[in-house]
Symmetry: D2
Subunit: 289 residues, 4 copies
């Protein structure tokens, strides 16, 4: 996978059910903005708050709505549920699976490596590792990831640690392998690409797909200063929809961009008005600024 | 709920499927040892590693095998999946539901209180709060729990923080409410009961049900020194099957006690031989000592 | 060391200098309330905020004011500064030294064991280990502590983890050694004593010395239910002067008890009025209740 | 302050005392390698393991040995000790003071801001904020730092979080202020400079001063690709002397570079032979590669 991927938000209607129409519409809007692939059922897509059936339905809807590659988030805490969802996602049109590190029991790198190896052996579609310590409290080490890179069915990693050191080491340690290093944090997208990453999967790409795409294209066209400059424009908005307001922030900004996707599921909660006003001013600076 | 509950291990057969016969057999053995209620699909039962359908099946099997009360672990990360599993567990024979705090998105006490309130409103069976910071990285505060205690359909809490301060505060803050404080850490069972807790749900009760039950009975019969002494006997074994070796430790000790329940699911892994030998010697000291 | 020790607050005058008279007065008040030994320059005494010279002066003042044993907090981050302060404290009248685990560089148990061993070899007075994970982010394991217990010049441990499991294991693992297990958390004082601990060093003993002493005496006189009951009375006040309001809380309550000790040093800050009012009502419940 | 600063290692002789000659020699070697300023008594200089008198002596020796600017680490846990050491460091020749965030009592940004403001008011030399969450478990927020930037006597920040987001935000939020943003993590030096940082203070600059200096010069000469490339060369060595082997790693590599500085102070410990061999091979790749 190369380029800018979007861990697409999952729209809910007023009853709290998945809103397929809004999802299809969102896919089209993101495509028009120049993004390169779609990642339904990621953390931003509230995957942990969906039932397995709902996950499959989201993947189906996204796959039906686009010609772009689809990398479906299929990770649960356990091997069997993860394999089952991976198989169903493949059937629903996913080209690859993004599998978050299990975290409940505090697995270490050795346990995770065995888990991923078994999963890659069994999966009908390629596996992307997914390390997101903000949510799982464990960063998969670049060394552990690199040891998996030679597996035929391990296609890459989404590294959402926000650590440029980690991205640099991943690039260096997997050089020569068919293994995509995807940046998972909007603040280090340009820097990660400059260091050799293949693309990114960014929450902020939901709400500013044109800017995220511009970063990638500037890097590809050998204009790193332009990539950096676009990325600098994105830092506050990126922070707003990740560490500051999280998924509810993504959903609030999508509404501000005339792509309403409903409220997040519990235990997440919609933002208060002052947070929305804050987001509105950050958005204006980012898009018009 | 009063007395000693067991967060019963989930047996798997050689194919990795749920072993209903072994589960039924385990229920009987635990009942004979004097335990008071059963908690299928808890953390020790590898609930996060089961599919929703498997969870329901485990509850069904346990409920069919016993006349004791059944408190089913029904918590997922999101409200909708949790409510769905809770309803299905009720249909499968659960008398109440144990709902772990969602943790992926780092919810705070205010979000968790709203989540539990909505769930208690909707659930067909009473809800027990479940705080287990070792796994979720968040301890539900006694104040937040106490604020939920007046809800008709919130029946109590399993507090697995290991903190006697937390248990003391829970007892004090919920005095006068219909609200059971259940100790979730084997090392503070006697002390928690002496402080006014109503019972416990203890991983170690899987492997030493006779000792766990003896602690409760000694406390109830107003022999706190005996309760403390039984508990002191259990400290090393408790630590071995929790912080040291976890669920794989529980399963290894059950095999040593002639109740084989298969290996844990991935990403958990069976113990190495030296760990099993260590457990064997700890078990001998505990049961025979 | 046996009985109830007080990690005595360090009074400052209006200029921010150590107030020797207030300190002497506080020592006398605590003695009259029945406490058994004094611990100047602990965490509650703002030791990390004092210069080495000031630490020595505090020890001198306390030692001059009392016939009770004096255990001086002498730990810095490094071996050389710690040894120097330990030697000076011994010269100033300390009977033993309480040495907190260094934490800046994230030392593990093996490094800490070597550190303590070297220090005990060199120190003119016996060393008490001091584990306070709330401040240092590392709990010295009972196993590591027990391995040090046989050293002639290691006299015991203050365990402020709040974990009854840890206290139980320390008692069991050091049985037969000349090694005092001292409870460092007010919420588990009675339970720790019932489990075999030798005494305690409690922040809350600054502000409720009569209750802390009563807990110890009830345990010693084989009235564990009375010890537990006294301890239950202390839980809210203990929490208020530790996790909730910390050292500024201790100082505010001492003022309420007519033992003014000035404000805490920066970066600590005096409490706001509403926090003081909260403490006042908790104090009333505790002492008069 | 601009350019590359070195948080210079503190050499000890065989008795464990400060080795002034080795320190003077090290200063000269670093100067010859092109570094721009010196930072005695930082985390890499084992400042927390020195007595206050020793800190002053280290500053004196460094100031006497160089014409370059000297930024002395003067932070202790408390205001009074920190101010005292700052005044003494100024007297010993320091041009500015680097003050780490106090961490023992878990101060928040509001407390830290008040602390720094008071210190800047009182200090005879300009203050640099120093945020190093790896050691203190708290990252000073860019917002809190920016609010201090307008103070006449607050000169900048050393941000050792390793977060490029934090550096980007610091640059943006302090634009227009006389405030230097200094990169504290070797892995993000080039990226931080490209984002607008003024320089860096890097542990790795002790052992590869020529490479660290080359990164800065390439950036200044508008050759960002060269800066990035130099930085990529440094990633493994940087990691080796920080997260992997820490200060003992710095000291071991200095010996390999024929600048022996003795062993680290306890609780730190000299590296085992296999770690030194590992460092040797990483060093060879970095310097000759």
């Amino acid at each position: 996978m190369h380029g800018t991927g979007v861990p697409i938000a999952t729209p809910f209607d007023d009853d709290g059910s998945i809103d397929d129409d809004a999802l299809t519409d969102l896919v089209g809007w993101l495509e028009d903005a120049g993004i390169d692939f779609l990642v339904p059922c990621g953390s931003t897509g509230e995957a942990p708050l969906l039932t397995p059936d709902e996950r499959v339905r989201v993947v189906e809807t996204v796959a039906a709505a686009t010609e772009l590659p689809v990398v479906a988030g299929t990770g649960h805490e356990g091997f069997e549920p993860t394999l089952e969802t991976t198989e169903r996602a493949a059937g629903a049109g996913a080209d690859a699976a993004l599998v978050v590190t299990p975290s409940y029991y505090g697995s270490d790198d050795e346990e995770l490596a065995a888990y991923y190896r078994d999963l890659a052996d069994a999966s009908p579609i390629p596996i992307y590792l997914y390390s997101v310590p903000k949510f799982t409290d464990h960063a998969l080490s670049p060394d552990a990831a690199a040891a998996l890179a030679s597996h035929d069915n391990v296609a890459g990693i989404k590294d959402s640690s926000g650590s440029l050191e980690s991205l640099q080491r991943l690039v260096r340690l997997t050089r020569g392998e068919e293994f995509s290093v995807l940046v998972g944090s909007g603040s280090v997208y340009a820097a990660g690409l400059a260091a050799g990453a293949d693309g990114g999967v960014l929450a902020v790409a939901n709400v500013a797909p044109e800017v995220a795409s511009a970063i990638y294209r500037a890097d590809r066209d050998d204009r790193p200063a332009a990539a950096r400059s676009h990325n600098a424009d994105l830092v506050e908005l990126n922070r707003a929809v990740t560490s500051r307001y999280g998924v509810p922030g993504v959903k609030a900004v999508l509404a501000l961009r005339d792509r309403p996707v409903g409220t997040p599921r519990r235990p997440l909660r919609p933002l208060e008005d002052d947070a929305v006003a804050d987001l509105e001013s950050i958005l204006e600076e980012t898009i018009d600024g």
